[in-house]
Every structure is written in C-alpha cells, then in structure tokens.
C-alpha cells in the first residue's frame, strides 16, 4: 500500500477527536519510530501504526471506543497484526 494514502486515511479518522495538528504530528512520530517510510507500507506496519495510535486514544475515550473507532480503519487498510 502507498504510505501517503494510508497515513491520509488514518489522520482523517482521528482528526475529529484530537485535531488535525496532533493527528498529523502523532502519526508522523509513530511512523518514524516504526520505520515506516515512503513510498510503500506493509499491512503489518499499518497494523502496528494503528495499534500505537489506538493506545493514545484510549486515554481520552477508553479502550472500547478507541477500538471501535480503529477497527473499521484496520479493515479498510487491510492491516494485519
């Protein structure tokens, strides 16, 4: 999958909650930590990126809500853990 497209989808999903500024910053930082780079990302990397962001969201909305928010994204992006 193209990295930029995956990142765009993920940022769009979490922006309503943590704002565009933080959505972009958090995604970029986690991408760097996970070694995700352009041009392509593997399904395993997408799964890890979503899991990291989900952990961060739990602090605001709890585990269940964070999971229910990220689950459709996993399916859409074909994330494999």
């Amino acid at each position: 999958m193209v990295t930029a497209e995956a990142v765009k989808e993920i940022v769009a999903a979490i922006t309503p909650f943590i704002g565009e500024n933080m959505a972009r910053s958090a995604t970029r930082v986690h991408c760097e930590k996970l070694g995700i780079a352009e041009p392509n990302v593997t399904p395993e990397q997408v799964a890890m990126l979503i899991a990291r962001l989900e952990t961060g969201l739990r602090v605001f909305m709890g585990r269940d809500k964070a999971t229910s928010l990220m689950q459709p994204l996993r399916a859409k992006l074909g994330a494999v853990s």
Binding site: T15, F17, I18, G19, R58, M61, R63, K65
Partner: protein, 269 residues
Amino acid sequence: MNRAIDRALWPSLSAATLLFVGWGIVPRAALFTTVLSPGRLIAVASLVKLTLLSLGALGSWRARAALDADNPVRPAWALLASSLLCDVIGQAVLARYQLQGEQSPFPSAGDFFWLLAYPLAGAALVRFVSAYHRAGYPMGSRAERVSLLAVTAAVCAALSFVVLRPVVLAEMPPLDKALSAAYPLLDMALLVPLALLLRTTWHFRGGSVGTAWILVLTGFVFMCAGDVLFAYFTALGLTGLDPFVHGAYILSYGLIAGGVRQHLALLAS
C-alpha cells in the same frame, strides 16, 4: 435527559451570566428593583451555582466510571470530581442563608470545603498532564515545559503581590484576612498546573478533546478571577460590585460543567 441538559446548558449559562453582569452595570434598573430584587438574585445565583457545580462533579465522576480501571486519567477524573464535590458542599452551606434572604456568613463551614477543593483540583490537573504525556503524544521538550512553569510561577508571584496588597492592608478580623488572602494565593498556585495543562491540551485544538479542555480550563480561569474579585472587593468594601463576582462564578462553573459534558460525549460517541 442528557441531550436536554446539553441543549439547555449554553443558552441558560449565557442568560444567567448576562443577568448578573446587567445587574452589576445597571443596578437601579426597574427589573432589579422590582421583580428581581437583590435578595432574589442572590438566591437565583446560589441555585444556578449549585446546579452547575453538581453537573460538573457528577459528569467528572461519570467520566471516571466510563474509563477502564487501568486508564491513567481515571484517578485524575476522580480527583476533579472530588474537588467539584467540595465546591458543591461549600456552596450548599451558603445556600442555606442565601435562599432565606439572609446575609451569608464569612468565614463559614463552607470555606473549609472550598479550601480543600484547591489541592484536589491541582492534583487532578497535574495527573491529567502526566497521563497525556505518557500516552505517547508529541508534546514538545522538557525544557519547554520547565520554561513555561518558571514563567507562569513568576507571573503568578507578581500578581499575588498586587492582589494581596489591599487584602493585607485592609482592617479585618485575622481569620477573615487570612481566608481572604488564602483564596487568591491558592488560585495563583492553581494557575501553574493550569497553564501546563492548557499548553498540553492546546496541541489537540480543532478536535473534540481540545474543545472540551479549553472549556474546562477557561472555567478554572474564571474561577480564579471570581476569587480575586471577591477578595479585592471584600478588602475594599465594594459590595456593589458583587454581581460581577456572581457572574464570574456562574460562568466559571458553567464552562467547567460544559467541558466535562463534552468529555462525556466523547466517551459515549
């Protein structure tokens, strides 16, 4: 029920705040000398404050309950709920007098609970900051946080000097003076973690988390403003300006309650 509360909260808060600001600006207007006499307005203020504080306390407790046991902000919500509960009890002590049209005593048993509310609120704010930092969000460097802490502490120390001067110079019984000085001092101390949390949550601006926190923290700023005005006006004997103090507290409690309810909406979204 919850939707009805959310729909009614902001228009009611605006109306109540405007009412008390209006009373302060034109106290001799027909409305304030006939239908809404000072005694009735103080009773209304008392009920509005009790309602808003109770909404905030209950909402904070529900936010705590909605989170998992291992969620790092759960204790912070419990502390905030306890702090607001102390404010509810403090206000309830005064309501007994205010609803009967009697002069509220100062000091009173309510002061014990109001004073207790400060360390609980401070501890809650510190725990929120700590939990959000540990959640892995990029929040800037430690040096930035230390700088902000130092600048805020210095500004608050300077403000304390200005605010406390008339209180210290006023002729009052020692206990009254000590309490009148304690509130603004505790407010200044509370502004330090408040600034830290505001900086932290500012990173979330544009999202529902950012909006909810800006409301809660603005509410705390108005609470500090209300306390400072109260101490200042009491020391200077300016009782005619009490409506502005009521207005500041009502706005403060309403913003806190509104922000907490937005957090609840986030948990239920």
